[in-house]
């Protein structure tokens, strides 16, 4: 059976083969606020556009000041890596993502494209209505493009597939709460990233099988438990580096980590409203957390629940949503006496610099010291 790692590494081949096998189309998207269920119900495979580590001699002419992820997304299109993508959707979200979307369309004007407005003000009474209206407009555009009807039955099926997918991924995260986890941070992030570029029905079959295997695994050695915050990640190099230093990323508060699996679509007669409510209600991204600060509380909750010893904040250079929130996150960590480091990264991770920073953090942490009194690591098995 294919592994998630293999799919992630060969994701373009996977998508092409899916297209050949099903005769259906692939829709690219950027942000995890994109309501994939609607596209899935239309028979599309939604694929998240991921950044790569590829030399870029294209984007400098067209972009300035963007984070390197969004530059690389454009670079990937320009190099033909995404030549199987039939359509592209952007939502109201980070402007750099919008810029990648917009500039890609200048290069490839024949792609199907849509801009879906997802309210930034998530809590207004009318946010639900405007989101519902936008989903309905989006569904109509898909129907027109594909010549298909998005029925309630198809939406129900999509909701079930996606709810199941999120539930299975939450089980993977639960396994990381153990004192001696049976799965590493790098393995989890590989699953999360692969899952974002896969047909979710197939991902669900793979996840079920993986879970039954993984639950029988011998736990890994007891080690320093770290939490990862910051800009979205597109590879697992940081998690691997952490593991090479005798620590493990046990939980994250990334938009494409816990942020995208935390809540489900609660069935309603009005399916589009149900889907809209799920996306309005998901844990706030740094950008959408613009009125009441909800991120801090959630970060602390995850930190406590997964019994982390310290925090790594890895921000993409020029990531303004996370840059703006840094103040609030630092404040939380300082007030709670939580050890942390912050560093900026490019699409590639500066290995030596990061190694030194993470070593510094680990050396600060005495496992158990920052925990709730009485908690003990005794009795941990070794892997």
């Amino acid at each position: 059976m294919k592994t998630f790692k293999e799919i992630l590494e060969n994701r373009h081949a996977y998508a092409k083969s899916w297209k050949a096998k099903t005769g259906r189309k692939v829709l690219g998207f950027y942000d995890t606020y994109f309501p994939e269920e609607v596209a899935y119900a239309a028979g599309l495979m939604p694929v998240r556009i991921l950044a790569e580590h590829e030399a870029d001699d294209v984007t400098d002419r067209l972009m300035y000041g963007n984070c390197y992820c969004t530059r690389d997304m454009l670079n990937q299109f320009a190099r033909g890596r995404y030549d199987y993508i039939d359509g592209l959707v952007s939502i109201e979200s980070c402007q750099w993502w919008y810029n990648a979307f917009d500039t890609t369309l200048i290069m490839f004007p024949d792609l199907f494209s849509h801009y879906l407005f997802t309210p930034d003000y998530l809590d207004a009474r009318t946010s639900k209505d405007v989101m519902r209206s936008e989903l309905s407009v989006f569904a109509e555009r898909l129907e027109e493009w594909l010549g298909t009807k998005i029925t309630d039955e198809k939406l129900d099926d999509a909701i079930n597939v996606y709810n199941k997918n999120r539930a299975l991924l939450r089980r993977i995260y639960e396994l990381r709460r153990f004192d001696t986890p049976v799965i590493l941070g790098s393995e989890t992030m590989e699953i999360m990233l692969a899952n974002q570029v896969m047909d979710k029905a197939e991902a669900n079959v793979m996840l079920e099988s993986l879970l039954s295997d993984i639950e029988k695994r011998e736990p890994y050695q007891d080690c320093v438990r770290l939490m990862l915050l910051g800009s979205e990640t597109y590879d697992v190099s940081l998690e691997r580096l952490v593991e090479s230093l005798g620590a493990n990323v046990v939980v994250d508060e990334l938009d494409n980590g816990t942020g995208c699996i935390a809540n489900d679509v609660i069935p309603l007669k009005d399916r589009l409203m149900a889907i809209g409510l799920r996306y309005l209600g998901k844990p706030h991204s740094a950008l959408k957390d613009s009125i009441w600060r909800r991120r801090q509380e959630r970060i602390f909750q995850l930190y406590e629940d997964w019994q982390a010893d310290g925090v790594i904040i890895a921000k993409q250079i020029y990531c303004h949503p996370h840059g703006t929130d840094m103040y609030a996150v630092w404040k939380l960590l300082r007030e709670r006496n939580i050890p942390y480091i912050t560093f900026e990264r490019d699409t590639t991770l500066p290995q030596e610099e990061t190694r030194l920073a993470v070593e510094g953090l680990i050396s600060q942490i005495e496992p158990g010291r920052t925990r709730i009194a009485g908690w003990s690591r005794s009795g941990a098995k070794t892997g």
Binding site: L62, W96, D102, T103, F117
Partner: protein
Amino acid sequence: MNKQRWETRPLEIWGKAKELRAQWQRSINEAAERPGAMLAHGNTGEFDWSIGFDDLTVIEDNPVGAMMASKSDAFSRKCRLASEVRGWGREICGYVQNCWGSQFLGYEMDDGAFPFRDMSIPFPDPCDQHLKRGQQCMDLSPIPRWGADYPMYLGPLDPKREQAFIDHTVYCYLQIIDDIERIFDHKFDDEKMIGSLNILPALREQALRISRLMTHTPAPIGQKELYSFYTLGLLTKVDPKETLDFWTSFADEVQWRVDNHIAAVATERFRWMEAHPSPWNFLKYFRYMEKYGAVCIGSQYSHIISGPIELGEDGQFHHIQRKKPPEGQEIRTREDAFRHIFTEARGYRFKDDEYCRKWTITDFAKGFHVDGAIMPLWRGGVGCTLTRKEQGLRLSEMGVHVLHYEGSQPGDRTDLDERRFLDQLDTWMESLGLEKLEA
């Protein structure tokens, strides 16, 4: 070798403009001190809150931060340092770092106490940094806060989407007013608000007169004059009647200058445009360019005061009018008034040109007969940079000479190499065959 071609002289309206700006500054400090007065952080561009709530002063951090950058490098550095130690880095807008840095310090440029905000009202804007910037005053104390959106979509006009967006925006604003009335026990004056709806269109008429007059050669005024006045009535709100009178007098004076061939730059021989704000700490480059006989006729950004405009087939800029509700009926209620305000021509709002009407940058260049464009590339404050490279390419394709320069953000001088910038200007001008007319 000063080849003066036209007469030039300072604007007579200067004194009045300074007076209005000072009046606005005073209103902030008074609102912070006067019992019962309310001071809010928020957006003032779309709606003048003080018309309905006569004791409410709303301020944006843009003009505050820009003024700090322009007036005191030492103080704005101190503010940015106060921000940086709390976690903000180079990608953060300089206005935000200056204004809220001052809040972190607790005092202002003149050593007076920082005027703490009583509430935070929404700042919906296409720029992500605007969206997030109300949180700093909320973090300080649990003041009332609200949100709103700046809904947008691409493609042809879609009545269904328009309706949903307008309903959402109107609801958000009505809720805020209800809450302010309830929480602060201040009554909103619906009648006054409805009566004021004609102020902005009237102001835009005068501003459009000025924009059109600036297409003349020689340009009667330049960007540096426009920058001195363009926030009056938009971001810096003072008495509406006084503001309108000011713009009418200003337009009359510009008309007089055109009629009498009074130039902004006496040696005008090269016209250039900009995109988005300039480095507020280093505005001397406008005068430096004048040594080459080069006049800046503004930017889409500085001509925003004219409202939604587009270039007509007659080569003139015209207002885009849109049928606004309630069509053919009198505006009777607060809700009618807000529906009227927010039914703006989509694609013609602030920065919509970067999303929906990308050709307008070339229309602007055409309408103002520009020879060149100086386009800043700002590293911080995403809204100041988005699509700037693309715009440069579009202008180059139509034959406009483009120069890009780099810096942090208009309110943050950290990364702007001033010497290098002037060298760039020299090289650029010389490459176009232009020598300095004066030393």
